[in-house]
């Protein structure tokens, strides 16, 4: 990169790959906005887009760790299927008889069991990979068949619905936190972001490390805060349709006031994605566990000689992948309000594509959480955009496949240029 813009990016210390992905997302959005005659970049569509991305995004963060340790997990789509199915059975057929129908404890117990189950299955697969040294490709390819078969076996091909009403809120389609809480959250997020920037700078100054010029810190802070507020504003701009509001007032026997409006705000599933993103970023960058994952990916022998138990690390990485897949199963089944035995089919490929488009290198050692989230968003934007324009489903798959290959090719060129092998 040359000239003033290059220097600006360098001074701000912004990842050029991140800029590239945001750029790609904007270009895709603008193209579809024009092609759809102005319906793509609307609060309503962006709201739906975030809902559709949520479950793949949650799994993509775990896939980053799996791929960074030079492994792969092909089983997650099927794992999502069986965990979603079992959670459906638990909340619809078992728990209402024990704790009573509609009890708020139903969703809590269901989600807890689901996450434990996902982690246990993941840990078992990780044990096969780490301790019995069976290649992860084979173990999880087997898992893909076994868990999908299991989901069919549990349900005998039927779909379980309707799911518990509290559980369904977690999917986000009918569970949003409203305008006030959304803005409160945005303010808290902005304050924490600024405190983080100040704290980082203070630490660097106290150790006499080089720091960015002060204006660059201000600029970075301003960009981040406007991004947070911008996203909040968009989600807060999507109004609940008037007839839904009328129906709600009617149900309570009230008359809707003239000109009354209400907006959705943050869907709960998107909040889950935000929480997972932040937690996984901290794990990746700031914990020993995360450091060892990247060390193992960079050089497994060096990690072993440094006293890191790489076998146990493999088990933990796959257990975490399983737990995140269970969270994704909650979001996916809650959004649909039902658990069918084909839930999550082909999700493993969407998730791997999201991680790879987000800059995770299949050779291991390299990958970021925010990259995977953006990768998931770009993929979903492509798919929904094409759907809105009226591209046939087979052609959609062909285009997504082509984009995946081109994205990885661009990534290889990028790495070669920056010497970031």
């Amino acid at each position: 990169m040359s000239g003033g813009l290059g220097n600006l990016i360098k001074t701000l210390q912004i990842d050029t790959r991140l800029l590239g992905m945001i750029g790609a997302f904007i270009v895709i959005s603008l193209v579809f906005h024009v092609a759809t005659g102005g319906t793509f970049l609307t609060p309503r569509n962006l709201f739906t887009l975030t809902l559709q991305t949520a479950s793949v995004a949650v799994m993509a963060t775990g896939m980053v760790f799996v791929i960074v340790t030079r492994n792969i997990d092909l089983s997650i789509g099927s794992l999502l299927g069986i965990v979603g199915m079992l959670m459906g059975v638990i909340q619809v057929q078992i728990l209402p008889d024990i704790v009573g129908f509609g009890s708020p404890s139903i969703w809590i117990i269901t989600v807890t069991i689901g996450i434990l189950l996902g982690a246990a299955i993941g840990a078992f697969q990780g044990w096969l990979i780490g301790y019995l040294v069976i290649p992860s490709f084979i173990v999880t390819l087997g898992g893909l068949l076994i868990w999908r078969g299991g989901a069919w076996w549990v349900s005998k091909g039927t779909t379980i619905s309707p799911l518990d009403p509290n559980f369904v809120m977690l999917g986000g389609a009918s569970g949003t936190i409203g305008v006030t809480a959304s803005w409160a959250l945005a303010i808290v997020g902005s304050v924490l972001t600024i405190l983080f920037l100040i704290n980082t700078r203070r630490k660097h100054v106290s150790h006499n490390f080089a720091v960015k010029p002060l204006w660059a810190e201000y600029a970075l802070g301003a960009i981040l805060v406007s991004a947070i507020c911008g996203i909040t504003a968009v989600l807060n701009a999507y109004l609940v349709p008037t007839r839904i509001l009328e129906r709600r007032f009617a149900a309570e026997g009230l008359e809707m006031p003239e000109g009354y409006t209400e907006a959705y705000g943050f869907p709960i599933s998107v909040l889950i994605v935000l929480f997972v993103t932040i937690a996984m970023t901290i794990v990746a960058k700031k914990t020993r566990f995360g450091r060892y994952i990247f060390a193992m990916g960079g050089n497994p022998d060096a990690a072993e000689l440094s006293g890191i138990n790489t076998r146990m690390l493999t088990v933990k990485v796959f257990a975490l992948m399983g737990a995140l897949t269970a969270i994704a199963a909650v979001i996916a089944s809650a959004r649909l309000g039902s658990a069918g035995s084909s839930l999550g089919e082909l999700d493993e490929l969407r998730v791997i594509a999201a991680a790879v488009i987000g800059g995770t290198a299949l050779a291991g050692g390299v990958g970021t959480i925010y990259g995977a989230i953006l990768g998931a968003l770009i993929m979903q934007a492509l798919v929904s955009g094409m759907g809105m324009v009226g591209v046939d489903s087979p052609l959609q798959n062909m285009i997504v496949g082509g984009v995946l290959i081109i994205a990885v090719w661009i990534d290889i060129i990028y790495r070669r240029k920056t010497g970031d092998a």
């Binding site: 490390f209 700031k286 450091r291 022998d301 060096a302 000689l305 006293g307 092998a421």
Partner: protein, 249 residues
């Protein structure tokens, strides 16, 4: 004679039917450099990997300060202040110098999170001593030169107060200037009282740096001699013929 800092006594290990190390005994005194010589496959690296905890011995004992110790993992070796610099450098190429230096022994904050700022500050301190020209702290080590990578590997061993240092071909990948730098460093560490095992193919370098040399062939120890008592030709014949000319004479 005083107690050796470290002694490996009657060590054996076999892989399948092959005796990689067969009843070998070596030792090192404080402030002494002991060279290990031999052809590829003579068993030097295997012997050293037993000491660093990468392999488990089948027979024999290890003594530190005259006390018997058990070394079953790299963590055990470190607990006895035995540090190793491997031929392959054993660095994670995708991590920066500080992360590599502290790998497995990270400095953490009071919340248990890794403290990168503190680790970089410590890395800068030790590097200022070992290799003052080193400035590239925030880049992955893959982008560093051979000498710079070697100084990261050495810094890792020295930082954690090694008493016994194992260096497996420390200068194999280095240029002339960098080799001289490592030689100076070995002399400095020796003056500080460390016991050093040095593996190398370069007989001349060994004659210059070592106090004693132990020669191995086919997994067996041919002999251990003080460098002032032997010529380079004597050592070469031990390596090639597998016979100790002094004992034969």
């Amino acid at each position: 004679m005083s107690t050796p800092l470290l002694e490996m006594r009657n060590i054996s290990i076999h892989f399948g039917g092959i005796k990689a190390v067969d009843d070998v005994s070596i030792d090192v005194m404080p402030g002494e450099v002991v060279g290990l010589l031999g052809h590829n496959g003579a068993g030097k690296s295997t012997l050293i990997k037993i000491l660093s905890g990468a392999y488990k011995k089948d027979a024999g004992e290890i003594y530190v300060d005259g006390k018997k110790v058990e070394i079953n993992s790299p963590i055990d070796a470190r607990a006895h202040n035995i540090e190793t610099i491997y031929q392959t450098l054993a660095l994670s190429d995708n991590l920066d110098a500080a992360s590599n230096l502290f790998l497995g022994r990270e400095i953490t904050t009071k919340f248990g999170l890794v403290d990168d700022t503190a680790m970089e500050a410590e890395s800068r301190k030790i590097m200022a001593r070992l290799n003052p020209n080193f400035q590239r702290f925030s880049e992955p080590v893959r982008s560093l030169s051979g000498g710079q990578r070697q100084s990261v590997a050495i810094a890792r061993a020295v930082y954690f107060n090694a008493r016994i240092l194992i260096m497996d071909e420390p200068t194999a990948a280095l240029g002339v200037h960098e080799t001289a730098m490592v030689a100076d460093l070995i002399k400095e560490l020796k003056a500080q009282g460390l016991g050093i095992f040095l593996i190398s193919h370069d007989t001349r370098e060994m004659m210059d740096l070592c106090d004693r040399v132990s020669v191995m062939k086919n997994g067996q120890l041919i002999g251990t001699e003080k460098v002032e008592d032997v010529t380079e030709d004597d050592i070469l014949s031990m390596i090639i013929m597998g016979k100790n000319p002094k004992k034969a004479a």
